[in-house]
């Protein structure tokens, strides 16, 4: 039992961060505003989670301007994809074990 819990990713145990990673896994890239809309989040809330994911190098950032408005695009890194998959496997194992 202990082992399975150890497989969980500390960063992704937060549901918002897990959701952000799931979007970046399913899409090539996603921009800040679309992500905010999709997750029904606020600027500050989302920014703090993005910073945490960036610190772990789970995502990469590409800043540019569209019509003079800042446009920030995020991508999942190879490290992020591996971490997400591992965390998902652990989640599934936990849920399965319970049944």
């Amino acid at each position: 039992m202990k082992n399975i819990f150890e497989n969980l990713d500390k960063i992704l145990e937060n549901r918002a961060r897990l959701q952000i990673m799931s979007v970046l896994i399913s899409n090539d890239s996603y921009d800040f505003n679309s992500l905010k809309e999709l997750l029904n989040s606020t600027d500050g809330h989302l920014a703090s989670h993005m910073k945490a994911l960036e610190k772990e190098k789970y995502i990469s950032i590409n800043k540019s301007f569209i019509d003079r408005k800042p446009n920030t695009k995020y991508k999942a890194t190879a490290k992020g994809i591996t971490a997400f998959k591992k965390h998902l496997d652990a989640l599934e194992a936990l849920v399965k074990q319970q049944k």
Partner: protein, 207 residues
Amino acid sequence: MKEISEYEKDLASIRHIMERSVKFISLSGISGVMSGVYAILGAVAAYFILYYPVSPFNQRVYSINDYQTLSQLTFIAIVVLITSLATGFLFSSRKAKKYNEKLWNATTKKLLINISIPLFTGGFFILILLYTGHFSVAAPASLIFYGLALIQGSANMYDEIRYLGLGEIVLGLISALFPGYGLIFWVMGFGILHIVYGTIMHIKYDR
């Protein structure tokens, strides 16, 4: 450490979000049925211009070449296109509102870019065909390019749209073998297939 039920909620929440982030789910089944109906009405109008009083199942021996007929047909096609798009927009924005979703989001943008490439290629190709007098292959070409666009867009829509796309392509190819019957295949592809598909989608997802 969280409760197991919280982990279950984690899994459930990302499943939904992953789907919403990739797929444009607001497209309504009813608007598919309606565009099929418009296409059939348009085809009936075209029949009275082109064939009447000959049965549409008889092969047309003469070809459309006078300016007036062509402009009337173009007018019908534009009316069908605009009413279909307007209905699609109306019903889809209603559905989006129901699911508390914005109609115009990152997925919609991606979808439109993806399908516009085959659609515009097909559109220009058909204009060239008409301009060079190859009227008989215009209907098959419209079915084929529309089918290709649907398959291209299926990555960002419900998976079933792929079958609608394949159906349109097959009809288009068969239609190319039978020049002069373009209108019949047009009714089958844009009319009947849309109605069947829209009905299935409505029953499966919208109720």
